[in-house]
Every structure is written in C-alpha cells, then in structure tokens.
C-alpha cells in the first residue's frame, strides 16, 4: 500500500494547510464539495486575495457546530476516553477547543477582506495556481494572441472584471479542485475529527503538553512517520516538514459538522479515532517529529532556525529541542539572501564570433546588427513596461519580434541570433546573488549617499519588498520568475520553428559543455585557513555553473516539450498507446539518461541532477511513459531513495549536497505531469540501470560545494517553512499574507555627509563598463590576477605579520615561564593572556595586505596582458585588479585575522609547553655536534646492537669458546663517546637506550661477569682494565650523555645480585664506582644511601647480606677514600660456598 500519493491540485495560493500528509489523512469535509464553494474551513486562509466572506462564515458555522456535541460529552468522545483511560479527565477539558470563544471567534467573525481585483495586471506578482498543480493547459495555445502573461499561462478570460464574476469563478475553481481530491491512501474515518485550523480565530489557542490526548499513540505514529521521512519513503522531504510546521502552528481545532460527529457508540474503534483531537495533539506530534528531524532542521537558514528556536510552543513541549535549536541558530552562519537578479546588461560584441568574417554576406552581417538592435529594443521596452498594469507582452512586442524573426533567413543568422539570445539569457538570469548589481536601479545618486551599511540594509529592505513573498507554497509549479519571463514570452511570441531548433541545439551544447566542466578537484582542507579563500572561490564557481545549467536546462525543457504540451493526459488508452508508439521513435533532444549515468558514476550527481530536474519539470504527460524517460525517472527515484541523510559514512555525499538533491527531486516528484505511481513503483526494477560507481572518491559529491545560499536559490520553496513560522509569530498579520515586520523608515537627508561612498558604486559601474568594451580575456586576466593576488596576500600576511606575532608570543611565553616558575600556569589562561596582547596587532594586517596587493597586482597584470595593450587600458586594468584583490584579501583578513593569530599562537604555545617537557633534566639545552664534527661517528643503532651483544654474552647462555676481548670493550666505549658527541644521527630514544645499556655494562664490569677472550687470564678481566673502563663510562655519563642516565639501576637488587655469583666476591669496584659517582656529582650521597638501604629489603643469602651491610657501613664511614683496595675478605670473612644470587 502506498504510504503517500501525490497531492492533487488543491487551493489557491493562499492555501497554507497541506491537505494530505503521507501517513495521515486530515479528513476533508467532502460532503460540502461541489454544492457549496467553501470547503472545510481550515482550507481558507486569510491570505486568499479576494477570498470571499462565505469562507469565513462557513468556517465559523462548522466550528460552532462541532463544539456542541463535544461539550456535551458525545458518545464519540466518551468512547475515546474509554479507549484511553488516562486521558479521560483531560477529555473532559476538551471542550475548551471551542468553548473559549474569545471575541470575534464566538460571534460571526467580521473579518473584512478587501477583495483584490484579479486581472492580468497582477500577473507577475504571484502565481495564481495552487502549490502543486499548475494547470498547464493554457500555455501552448496556438495563437500567440491568446497568450497569457501569468507565469504558467493560467489566465483568466479577459474581460471578467467585476468582483462578482471573480468570486463566482473562484468558487467554481474551488469546487472543481475539491472534486479532484484524491481518495485517501489511508482512509481515516472522517466523522468527528476536528480539523486543525490555521486561520479561524486570530488569537491562537494555547497548546498545553498536559492536555495531549493520546501520547503513546501519537508518539508511535510520529516514530513511524519520522522513519519514513528519514528513509526517503516520502516523495518530498520539505513538504512533510511543511506539514509538520503547519501542525506546530495550528491555531485552533475546528470540529466537523454535527452529523459527522454522531457515530454509534462503540463503533469508533480506538484505532480509528481521529489522531489529532486538539491543538495539543497537533503540537505534540509536530514536536515529536521535529525532534527526530533535528539534523535537517539545523541545516536550514539562520532565519528559520531563529523562528523555530523562538517558537513558544516548541519551548513548552520540548525545552531540550529548543535548546538544541538555539545552539544551532547561534552557531549558524547560513544567512540566506534571495536577492533579485541584477539589472540587465547587453551582451557585448564578441569579435571571435560576431565580426564580418563569420557571416556569409555583408547583408547578413548588417541584418544581424539590426536584429541585435531590435532585440535589445524589445528587451528594454519589456524592462520598462512589463510591470505596468495593462501591458501585454504579445500585444506590445509580438509583431515586432515576429518581424525580426522573419528576417533571419539564413541558417547562420539563426545561429548567431541564438548565441546572442542564450548569452543574454545567462547574463540576465543566472547570477546567484546580484553582487555588484545596482539596488533599486533608478536612483543611484540617492543610494550612494546612504553609505555601505545603510546600503546593505536597503538591500534587505528591497529584498523584502520586491522578492516574491510567496513562491507559491512549499511545492510550486515550474515558473519563469523575473527576467526569465521575458525569454519565455519571447520564444512563445516568436513561435519560430527554426529559432526553436537552433536554440535547442545551442542549449544542448552549452549544457554538455558546462556539465563536463572540470570543477575543483581538491577538497578544502579544514586544517589550513588560507585555502578557505580559494575554496570560497571554487564554491562560488560551482554555484555559477550549477545555476547556469539549471537555467539552460529549464529553457531546453521548455522548448523541447513545447510542441507536445497539452492540457491533460490523453483520454483513452488507445490514444495514449498510439502517441507512445509515435513518440518513442523520436530521439531525445539531449541524452539525459547517459549524462545522468555518467554523472552518478563520476560522483557528480550534485551538479547533474539539479539541472536534469529542471529539464524534466517541463515534460508533458506522455514523457514519463516513454521507455527512455521512464528509465531516467527510475534512476532518479533510486538515487532519491539512496540519499539517506542520517548516513554519514566517509567519502560519501556531503549533507547539504544530499539535501539539495532531495529538495529538487522531491519537487520533481510533485509536478503534475509526473505520474503519481512513479514514486511508489515496486522496487527491484533497477535492471540495467545499475550505475558504475567505482569511480574516484574525489567526486564533486563528496565536497561541500553546496551551501545554504545555493540551496535556497535553487529551491526557494524551502523558504516557505520560514514564512509559515513567521506568520505564526506575526499573529494578526496572518491575513495579509506573508510575514510582516515593522520597518523603520530611514531618511536620506541626515546621511548626506558621507560623500566618499558615492564613488564606490560608481566605481563598480565604471569597472563594469570598462570590461564591457574590452575583449573577454582582459576581464578574465584581471579577475584571475585579483583572485590569485588576494589569495597570496593572505599567505603573505601569515608568513610575515602572523609569523612575527607568533615569535613575539614565544618570547612573551618564555618570560612568563621565567617569572611564574616552571609551571607557567594554566595553558588556557596563558593563551588568553597572549591573545589579548597580540590580537590587536592583527589590525595591521589590512594595511599590509593592501600594500601587498598594490605592489603585486600591477606586475602580474602587466605580465599577462598582451604587449600592445594601450597604456590607459593597462593602467585601468591594473587598478581594477588592485581593487579587487584588496577587496578579496581584506574581506577575508578582517573576518579571520584574529582567529588565525589565535590558532597560530595556540599552536606555538602547545609547542613551547611540550618542548618544556615533564622532566627538568631533559629541559637543559641540547648541544649539537661540535663545530668541526664530520659526522663520521658510528651509527647509534649499530652501537646499541654491539652493546646488546656484549650484554647477551655476559648474561648467557653462551658457548664455551665465546667471549669478548678487552680491546673490543675499549673500542666500544670510545665509539660510544664519538657517537654521543656527534649528535647528528642520535635521537633521544636511542640515547636513552645507550645510557641504560652503559649502566648495565657497568654493573657487569663491577661484578666481573664479562667473559673475556684471550690468553692472560682467561675469562677474567684484569682489575686495572675494569677500573679503566669504568673511568671511561663515568666520563661519558658526566660529560657526553644529554639524557638522564639511570644510574640508580646500579644499585637495584638484580644488578647488585650479579656480585653474588662471583667467587671470590670483590666489592672494591662497586665501592669505587659509588664513590666516583658521588665525587663527580652524578649521584647524591643520600640517594645512594637510600638505594643501599632499600637493598636490605631484598632476600639475600646470609653471607651476602653481611657483606652488603659491611659495604654500606664502609660507604657511610669513609666518604673520602679515593681508591679503596677492597676485597670481600677484608669486609667480613666470607663464606665461600655456592651462593645463589637471590631468594
């Protein structure tokens, strides 16, 4: 069973409540349909321009009627109560749904609705159609004279001017739409279900968590619903969010009519009882769902987040969610501005394509010139007049356009004109944000007096006033906003087959070209702040390409499917089959299926899919049935299903990229020409559509190319969520449509004192004008230079100013450490102190950056421009490059310099603190090689290995013939000295190991455990030789080791125990060693005493203990014996038995 079907054509644009959500069906009062215009009260919003009063009265009647039985404890409600006992008492309180009729709601509402005349004059203001289903019927009418100017050609018959007629018309329209309402996929009993109203009374009913009727059930349903959303089992994510926000902001419940509310007692199965019995239920459910959709919510724009975070209902039902939203709002940088496209500018003469050589004859050349003039004339006239009431494109310009088209006889002239047309289209419509465009075109002189920040405010104000308040609900039909309307109307008015064909060719080529463009191949590294500068550029470039592609694809779709567009699907199956048979022979205008597969394979879906959706949105009813396009849609459907937002595995698609794709695909699935069952088609049909996605992991999809600005630019309907929330906040303004905030008017008079700003705007215009007349390569060069120099400037600042500051920080830190002792204090505090001292210096960055740009940019421009460039042009180009580079660098620097300094200082701080090290001994300055060192010393690794061999020989087991010769030992120690003095190859771990090994070696020497090769005294080392070797070791420990030597090892039980094995035991070497250690300051006397003391704790054989104690006493008694000649027999009378070393 399908969970959801597509929403049908429903309401006029004021409609704010979505009729159907995927799982729920908010029951409609279908009994009313047809007979009486106004349907369920909730459907009428105050926003309906020209919304008739009947609507309101109907609503209030229905509402009043619904109140009575509930208040009287109707069987319906009692059965509900029984099914859910804990809520019984609450149910008693339910009457307040209606029984608190504050003011206007109780009596017949006297809402005055000023009927607004509906006519072609307002055709551009807002779409007149419902949010899902634009009737396409009227658009491709054969006679251009009948063309309508509304975005989708849905026109009102001319001449119906009287309000009465209009109302009648609206009524008809509405009843027609109601009849088209789909049968619910999940029929819910309609009886007795109160309906949430978003309008009704203007004072909203307070929602109370304590009065939710069936928590458990709502929770469960919310869970299921959220899972469906999360798994992309719903066609349109944002439509669902919109529905949920509608529930959140429902103003009050409107009960259904009385007769609906009289079910036989007990007949109402608890499962079938209405889900939303009160506003409390609605809000509870909405908050439950929102909690699970937090991940998506926090990617919405800052404005929406603010409104959500400030929503008092949300706070009341889930303070936790509110807290998270607030945090998300505070952390969000996603300010979205839907600025208007900049004003038009003509495409300049392009020598490569537009000069005489490209035309067959002088005549064709001149004709083209004339056509060009006509084209711009027509464009200017449209610009000036299209907003005037009563002006009609076809009437005003149609004949002139057709006359011009008639002159384009030769094929080459057509291609020239199409190129111009397309370039102009891109130039006028594609700009993502009208950066540099003039505000309110007409009065630059006044504006320039405002100054930069005021200008920004004015921009926002203009946006609010001029930008369409409503894009036509959360799922509007495809439209041609702004300038695009001109090009659409031009194509329609021209109605030239040749022109259309050339246009399609040209659009296809350009789309292929842009789609295949090599876009940034290196992902931004979050490590390095500088690459941000570059990455922003890459991202901007992606946005430009994507928006261009979408625009081109939209027009391609429009022109390509224009001949087939009909009002509705073919009436009979036979007819449809024959059309299909015919159409399946026609090759697709652009092989979108292959491009889509390639895009998916190359992980560039984020670029390909959005324009493909634009293209397909203009498909006629037959297209989705054609095998070729069916496969395309099927692939898109699979893609949609696979874009699960919660899955964030590495190398996968970025969240916002996914969100963009989900938004555009969801929108496409709601287009009326796309069959409803397409989305719910059975699974497992991917057959030959498997895409080869083994390709590189460095696809565009995994790079954060989409930001909120681009998302909202591509999908302005997401902004409806914000408008919905805003209209809740503005309360009473609900009737005026859109959200209204108070705007404080500013006067220009007091601001005139800032003349310098005047030049800024003018300067920008001058620059534009300058480029306009120069070859495009000049502009590219200047922009390239500005971009690279700007970026280098940041790196320069980092290498100079910031590096200096870091050095300062390091010396400050040293001082700090000296004054505060070893500890130096808390690192966090230290960082704060350093930053507060150093960050103010960041201000110099701007001046230094400017200086850098001024110095570098002209050189680069000069190097890159051709020699013959006139001096004046060159100097202008240079100064523009300087200006642009400075702007780029300064914007980045002023925003990031403090953070950059902070980051670097922090790194320096942790570096310094780490270098301090935990052990004070390790802190002492490390000496390098002596000056004359030739780095010829033996390798440390070799030495460790050699000493290890000696140790293993000494420790055994060994073969009888194994041993070391004394010379080898001496050589080893002298090599050790060399290695320790040449520091080049020595790393601290190796040195530590050498130190340790040397101590072990000393222990073995003292215990005479080293097996010696050679004739004199086999297996014993000469005493004097041993002493010499110990002297060498002592010198090495004293002078050459730069790491602490673990001398205390000498007195560990294990090492001292080595002596126990020797016979006769000879203590003199140990005593000698200990006294030398003290003498040379390598160990403290007390330290040795402690070690000796602790030796007694180990278990020794009796005689050994005695000898040890004697040694101890001797060491204590005779501190200054220089060369003790001592034998065990002198200590005590030793018992020469076999003694085990230990235990």
């Amino acid at each position: 069973m399908p969970l959801c079907k597509k929403r049908q054509p429903s309401k006029s644009k004021g409609e704010k409540l979505i009729k159907r959500a995927p799982i729920f069906y908010l029951p409609l009062k279908q009994k009313n349909r047809g007979r009486r215009g106004p349907g369920p009260a909730r459907e009428r919003g105050g926003r309906v321009p020209g919304g008739p009063e009947e609507v309101v009265s109907g609503e209030s009647l229905g509402w009043a009627g619904g109140r009575r039985p509930r208040g009287a404890g109707s069987p319906g409600s009692s059965s509900l109560g029984l099914s859910d006992p804990p809520n019984l008492s609450n149910l008693e309180e339910f009457p307040p749904v209606g029984s608190v009729p504050p003011g206007p709601a109780g009596t017949k509402p006297s809402r005055r609705i000023n009927p607004t005349p509906v006519s072609e004059e307002r055709s551009l203001s807002k779409p007149k159609t419902c949010f899902t289903s634009p009737p396409i019927n009227c658009v491709p009418s054969a006679q251009p004279s009948a063309l309508d100017t509304s975005p989708w050609g849905l026109g009102l018959p001319p001449g119906c001017r009287s309000l009465q007629e209009e109302r009648e018309m609206l009524r008809k329209e509405r009843s027609k739409q109601l009849q088209q309402s789909p049968t619910p996929a999940h029929p819910t009993p309609e009886s007795g279900s109160p309906l949430p109203s978003r309008t009704g009374n203007l004072t909203a009913e307070p929602a109370d968590p304590a009065r939710v009727s069936s928590c458990q059930r709502l929770k469960l349903v919310a869970l299921v619903y959220s899972s469906c959303i999360a798994e992309n089992l719903v066609p349109n994510l944002f439509l669902e969010l919109y529905f949920v926000l509608q529930l959140l902001t429902a103003r009050r419940m409107v009960a259904a009519k009385d007769d609906d509310l009289e079910p036989s007692p007990g007949a109402l199965d608890p499962l079938e009882s209405p889900l939303f019995q009160s506003v409390h239920d609605c809000v509870f459910f909405a908050v439950e769902v929102l909690e699970r959709q937090f991940q998506v919510l926090c990617y919405l724009d800052k404005g929406t987040l603010k409104l959500l975070a400030e929503n008092e209902r949300l706070l009341c039902f889930s303070p936790a969610l509110q807290g998270r939203l607030r945090a998300a709002y505070e952390g969000s940088a996603a300010k979205v501005s839907l600025a208007m496209p900049p004003s038009a500018q003509a495409v300049s003469f392009q020598p490569e394509t537009d000069n005489r050589a490209n035309f067959s004859s002088d005549r064709a050349f001149h004709t083209f010139k004339k056509q060009r003039d006509v084209f711009y004339e027509v464009l200017r006239e449209w610009e000036d007049r299209h907003e005037e009431p009563g002006w009609d494109f076809e009437k005003g310009l149609g004949s002139r356009i057709r006359a011009m088209m008639g002159q384009l006889s030769a094929a080459c002239s057509h291609s020239h004109f199409v190129r111009l047309f397309q370039k102009q289209l891109l130039q006028m419509c594609q700009s993502p944000c009208g950066a540099g465009g003039t505000v309110l075109g007409e009065a630059p002189d006044v504006l320039s007096m405002l100054g930069a920040d005021k200008l920004g405010r004015l921009r926002r104000l203009q946006e609010r006033l001029v930008a369409p308040q409503s894009s036509g609900g959360p799922c509007p039909p495809p439209t041609f906003p702004g300038c695009q309307g001109f090009f659409r109307d031009f194509i329609l008015s021209a109605s030239s087959f040749q022109f259309n064909q050339h246009l399609m060719d040209s659009l296809s080529v350009k789309i292929r070209e842009l789609n295949g463009l090599a876009l940034p191949q290196h992902a931004p590294s979050d490590e390095d702040g500088e690459s941000d500068v570059d990455w922003q550029g890459e991202r901007r470039q992606f946005a430009v390409v994507l928006l261009s592609l979408r625009l081109l694809a939209k027009f391609l779709g429009f022109v390509a499917f224009l001949p087939y567009r009909g009002p509705e699907p073919p009436p009979t199956r036979e007819l449809q089959d024959s059309i299909l048979a015919l159409r399946s022979q026609v090759p697709p205008v652009l092989d979108v299926l292959t491009l889509l597969r390639q895009g998916l394979g190359a992980r560039r879906a984020v670029l390909t899919v959005p324009w493909l959706v634009e293209f397909l949105s203009f498909a006629d009813h037959i297209v989705p049935l054609l095998d070729y396009y069916r496969r395309t849609f099927s692939l898109l459907r699979h893609l949609h299903r696979s874009l699960v937002l919660s899955e964030e595995s590495g190398g996968e698609m970025c969240f916002l990229n996914k969100l963009l794709l989900l938004a555009v695909l969801g929108w496409l699935f709601q287009i009326p020409t796309v069959p409803e069952d397409l989305f719910f088609l059975e699974e497992g049909q991917l057959d030959a559509l498997e895409v080869d996605t083994v390709a590189s992991e460095h696809g565009l999809d995994s790079m954060p190319v989409v930001d909120q600005q681009l998302l909202y630019t591509c999908c302005p309907y997401i902004g409806e969520l914000r408008k919905l929330l805003a209209s809740w906040v503005s309360g009473s303004s609900g009737r005026s449509g859109g959200f209204v905030r108070k705007i404080t008017p500013t006067t220009t008079t007091s601001l005139g004192a800032q003349p310098p700003q005047t030049t800024q705007g003018l300067q920008a215009q001058l620059a534009q004008a300058f480029f306009h007349n120069q070859p495009p390569s000049l502009r590219r060069t200047v922009e390239f230079v500005a971009e690279r120099i700007g970026s280098n400037c940041v790196k320069y600042i980092k290498a100079t100013l910031v590096a200096d500051l870091v050095r300062q920080a390091e010396s400050l830190l040293q001082e700090q450490l000296v004054t505060q002792g070893q500890e130096g204090g808390d690192p966090v505090q230290l960082l704060e102190i350093l930053c507060s001292q150093l960050c103010p210096h960041g201000a110099q960055a701007l001046a230094q950056g400017r200086e850098f740009c001024q110095r570098k940019s002209p050189e680069a421009v000069r190097a890159l421009l051709p020699e013959e460039t006139p001096a004046a042009v060159l100097s202008s180009a240079e100064s523009i490059a300087v200006g642009l580079a400075m702007e780029k660098a300064c914007v980045w620097l002023s925003a990031n310099i403090t953070a950059l300094i902070r980051r670097e200082v922090k790194a320096a701080l942790s570096r310094t603190l780490r270098a301090q090290g935990p052990e004070p001994a390790a802190r002492g300055e490390r000496r390098g090689c002596p000056r004359a060192c030739e780095h010829q010393a033996p390798l440390p690794s070799h030495l460790i290995s050699e000493i290890k061999d000696v140790l293993s020989l000494a420790v055994g087991p060994r073969d009888p013939e194994e041993g070391v010769c004394p010379e080898h030992l001496e050589r080893l120690l002298s090599q050790l000295g060399q290695t320790l003095r040449c520091r080049q190859l020595l790393c601290p771990p190796a040195e530590q190991q050498l130190a340790k090994c040397s101590v072990e070696l000393a222990s073995l020497l003292v215990a005479d455990q080293i097996p010696i090769l050679g004739p004199p005294t086999p297996h014993r080392l000469d005493r004097g030789q041993a002493r010499r070797l110990l002297h060498v070791l002592l010198a090495l420990w004293k002078d050459d080791f730069q790491v602490p030597v673990p001398l205390q090892l000498l007195l560990r039980p294990r090492n001292v125990g080595l002596l126990a094995d020797t016979r006769p035991r000879e203590w003199d070497l140990l005593l000698f060693l200990l006294q030398e250690l003290v003498e040379r300051g390598l160990m403290g006397r007390t330290e040795i005493e402690t070690c000796l003391g602790s030796l007694h704790e180990a278990q020794w054989p009796g005689d050994f203990s005695k000898e040890l104690a004697a040694l101890f006493n001797l060491f204590l008694a005779e501190p200054h014996v220089p060369e003790p000649q001592l034998r065990a027999c002198e200590l005590v009378q030793p018992n020469r038995g076999t003694v085990l070393a230990q235990s």
Binding site: P940, S941, K948, P957, P989, Q1099, Q1142, S1143
Partner: protein
C-alpha cells in the same frame, strides 16, 4: 644494495624455524659471508616476524599459557640460574621476549589477581629490575638481551635505524640540491598521511618519476612491500602521485 631474488630465497630458506638468537645470526653470517650483518639481520627479522605472525595465536591460548607457566615454575625451582625461559621459548619456537611477556603477564596476574595493564608490563620489560620477583627479573632480562628480533632493545634499535636513515636521506637530498618538504613541514601544512619527504620538484630515477621518498630502513621483501603499499604508498600516490 640490490639483492637478487634467488639470493634472498636462499637466505630465507636457511631461516626456517631457527631461534632468533645471537648464535643463529652468527651461523648465518658464516654461511653467507658476502652479505653484511645488517642485511642478514634485517631479512632474519622479517622472516622471523612472518613466522611469529603465523604462529602467534597458538601460543596465546589459555592452555598454552598455563603449560608454559608450569614448565617455567618447574624449571626455576630446579635451578633458578639456568636459562629456563629462554630455552622454553626456543623449544616451542617462539620469540624469547614474547615468551617473557607471556610468563610475566601470567605471573603478575597470579600475584595481583587482576590482569595487569599493558603499560605496567611494557615498563617492566623495559626495566626488568622493576619485576618484583628476582629470579623472574633475571630470566626476563636474559630473554630480552638474547632476542634479536623482538623486545624493547630491538625496538629501540629499529627506531634508531629508521631515524638514522631519514637523517642520511635528508643529507643526501641536501647534497644533491633537491628541494623537499619533510614530514614535519608536511604535517604543519595539514597533510594527513605523509611520506618522509616530498620532492618539491620531481626527479627521474632510472626512468621513473619520483615525487616522494619514504625511507623504510629495512629489507624490502615482497611481503612487506605489499603491506606498505597497502598501508601507505597508495594513499601517497592518490594524493601526491
């Protein structure tokens, strides 16, 4: 130095089930006098590591550990000064240092009744005089100094070799006037995986273009080549070519 595959195979053949001791290495040197000790040790070490990887698991079953521990206890009761642990390791064909670790772990577990932490074990292996039992301390120390493939001493030698080769390589690069970025500089620039050096201007060696150099300072047999390729080299190639 370039070693032929046949020579390598011959050496590797001699190393099958040979204990990693000084004596084995000495025999190897006598057998292949033309090869340097470093080369032989490196091959020995790698072959032995392969052997340990294959057999590691069977020495760590609780039955095996228990039987080793009992044998150790019986051995030291008879004669604490004899190389009990070392001989046990050689007998069961396991690295002495690793055997020492097994026994030490088991010993501490018995004393403390809780499994000792890795850092405690490591610290005791690095400095056996911290081991509370004197006999065991001696036994462990004996294992460690006699093991030429595993243990803290060998680890330190390997580390030192790695460091030395990096320094030598850097000197060579400087001497040849090749501009490069070293690992520290690369990390500061935010590279994730870095080879030892990236050449700022690529050079050609024997017809191959060299972009980066990673010094491994060990013998490059087929198996370790594969492992390094998998772990490091491909990711360098992807990002640096």
């Amino acid at each position: 130095m370039i070693l032929t595959k046949a020579q390598y195979d011959e050496i590797a053949q001699c190393l099958v089930s040979v204990p990693p001791t000084r004596q084995s290495l000495r025999k190897l040197k006598q057998r292949f006098p033309s090869q340097s000790q470093a080369t032989l040790l490196s091959i020995f070490s790698q072959e032995y590591q392969k052997h340990i990887k294959r057999t590691h698991a069977k020495h760590h079953t609780s039955e095996a550990i228990e039987s080793y521990y009992q044998r150790y206890l019986n051995g030291v009761v008879k004669n604490g000064a004899a190389p009990v642990l070392l001989e046990l390791a050689n007998e069961v064909n396991y690295a002495p240092s690793l055997m020492a670790r097994i026994i030490l772990e088991r010993f501490l577990q018995e004393r403390e009744e809780t499994p000792p932490s890795k850092s405690v074990i490591n610290s005791m292996l690095r400095d056996p005089s911290q081991i509370p039992d004197g006999v065991l301390a001696n036994q462990v120390y004996q294992c460690i100094v006699n093991d030429c493939c595993y243990g803290p001493l060998v680890d330190c030698i390997k580390h030192a070799i790695g460091h030395e080769h990096e320094v030598l390589l850097r000197d060579l690069l400087l001497e040849k006037n090749l501009s490069f970025l070293d690992e520290d500089q690369l990390r500061a620039k935010g590279y994730d995986k870095t080879p030892d050096f990236i050449l700022q201007v690529p050079v050609a060696v024997e017809g191959h273009i060299i972009h980066w150099i990673e010094s491994k300072a060990s013998f490059g047999d087929e198996c370790s080549h594969h492992a390094y390729l998998h772990d490091q080299f491909w990711s360098y190639w992807n990002s640096l070519s």
